[in-house]
């Protein structure tokens, strides 16, 4: 089961209009730094729904997606059952 989680993001805005996420706050308030962005393209999220600019990011050595949908950012959270 995967959940759509909207997150607070720190982003950079270049003079030519390119927006790149730099770090984001998880729901528990922890700040995660984005180490690198390897891809950015328009895409739909098949797991949680919605579409927008999808950034492939690396955080603590793990690849993940973060989406910019209109003016909001979301990630696909994988729910693990205990």
């Amino acid at each position: 089961m995967t959940r759509k989680v909207y997150v607070k993001v720190n982003a950079s805005f270049s003079p030519d209009g390119v927006v790149l996420p730099r770090s984001f706050y998880w729901t528990d308030g922890h700040l995660y730094k984005i180490d690198s962005i390897t891809d950015a393209r328009m895409a739909a999220s098949k797991k949680v729904g919605g579409c927008g600019m999808r950034y492939t990011i690396s955080v603590n050595g793990r690849d993940s997606y973060i989406f910019r949908e209109d003016d909001r950012w979301f990630v696909e959270e994988k729910e693990t059952s205990c």
């Binding site: 895409a43 739909a44 098949k46 729904g49 579409c51």
Partner: protein, 404 residues
């Protein structure tokens, strides 16, 4: 785009994508019919236009989703943005269909089939929706092709072999052949597109007028209409406002007030377009869903809502026979001309009253623009129980202690 409204709901909420889904209007506002359904619901026999309870009878587990028109507009715009990367000739046909002229893209992006496949893949990847594309040498056959294979498919109808490909299809699969036209064609013994294509002109013309010969041209692949430029602005030919009432209307008095309410915004909308109307059209549907439409000329071209409403009410009272209560009324102003166009007034027209009403309407518009839509309204609009929420007033606007 396939099952557009339902597909958007499924892509927005993937947990329902493997269930039967129908997008339905509000039951409370008496719009409780199926607006769109996905293929799973379709397999249960759910049809567009079914009432919610009919859909639930056919498919008890169906997921009923509320419509989100802003979201559909957003997806529609995003799709058109993708199309615009290939051509500037994009002609919308409703919210979820477009004609694209890609003739000039052959050297850069490939032929029609190649571009269709690229678009199909991109829409699926970027928006999470599927499309069906028809590729052909004219708009009529492109539309026909898009309906031939669904979902997520491309159908090519080539110029040199279209007869083999489509002439055996039923005549009503052609754009422009609705239920009534299809019945007329059947009466003439025409069941297929091929039979329509070969039918003598005089037979079609006698029975169907110019429409018949035009359909024959379509069947023979002779539609020559161009795909309009994306930035083409269609001239406004009419403005309308209609409503299905919360409760059926039972008498002329309530109908007159409802008509006044429907005509309320015509003044500002016509002034914005710098137009005046020469006529009105009135559509009335009773609670048995039977409908009638009438038209009449206005005594003189006008943009004054009161004059328009008075004439529409006169038309209603003279034509509606009250065999059934009224469920829906739509008023349209038609035959619009420029407000600068001179016209002859009659000796007997009350010009002073018209000028007064025009000033009153402009002043009310000014107040609404400054203080909101509910700041002023005719007293007759109070306590209209048959109007949906937000369209009636239960108390007078607040008094002088408000500061804006």
């Amino acid at each position: 785009m396939n099952n557009f409204f339902a597909s958007v709901e499924c892509t927005r909420n993937p947990s329902i994508k493997d269930k039967p889904v129908a997008v339905c209007g509000s039951v409370e506002d008496r719009h409780g019919i199926v607006l769109a359904k996905n293929y799973i619901a379709k397999a249960y026999g759910v049809k567009t236009g079914d009432t919610v309870w009919q859909a639930k009878m056919k498919c008890p587990d169906i997921v009923i989703a509320d419509p989100h028109y802003e979201l559909y507009m957003k997806y529609s715009k995003m799709a058109r943005k993708i199309y615009s990367e290939y051509t500037d000739k994009i002609e919308p046909f409703g919210i979820d269909e477009c004609w694209l002229d890609v003739t000039s893209c052959k050297d850069t992006d490939g032929d029609g089939k190649t571009i269709a496949d690229i678009l199909r893949e991109r829409i699926k990847y970027e928006l999470g929706l599927t499309i069906s594309v028809g590729v052909s040498f004219n708009k009529i056959f492109a539309k026909l092709g898009s309906d031939m294979k669904k979902p997520d498919a491309v159908t090519v109808i080539p110029e040199d072999s279209f007869k083999e490909k489509i002439w055996d299809l039923p005549a009503d699969s052609l754009l422009g052949v609705g239920r009534r036209t299809s019945n007329t064609l059947k009466f003439l013994g025409i069941d297929t597109i091929g039979q329509l294509a070969k039918c003598p002109d005089e037979v079609l013309k006698r029975k169907m007028g110019i429409v018949g010969t035009r359909l024959k041209m379509y069947a023979n692949g002779l539609d020559t209409s161009d795909v309009t430029q994306s930035d083409y602005v269609y001239p406004v030919k009419s403005i309308g406002c209609g409503l299905t009432f919360r409760e059926d209307i039972q008498n002329n008095r309530d109908a007159a007030v409802a008509i006044s309410k429907l005509c309320e915004d015509f003044g500002s909308r016509l002034r914005e377009l710098k137009k005046v109307a020469k006529g009105i059209s009135l559509f009335v549907r009773d609670n048995n869903l039977n409908w009638k439409e009438w038209q009449t000329s206005l005594p003189y071209p006008t943009s004054v809502p009161k004059t328009i409403a008075d004439e529409a009410t006169k038309l209603f009272i003279s034509k509606y026979k009250w065999e059934k209560p009224v469920r829906t009324i739509t008023v349209r102003v038609i035959r619009l001309i420029s407000e600068d166009e001179p016209f002859q007034i009659s000796f007997f027209d009350n010009v002073q009253s018209e000028i007064k009403n025009e000033k009153l309407d402009s002043t009310m518009e000014l107040l609404k623009n400054r203080f909101g839509d509910r700041i002023i309204h005719p007293a007759s609009f109070m306590n209209m129980g048959y109007m949906p929420d937000g369209m009636t007033f239960s108390a007078l606007p607040a008094g002088g202690n408000q500061h804006v």
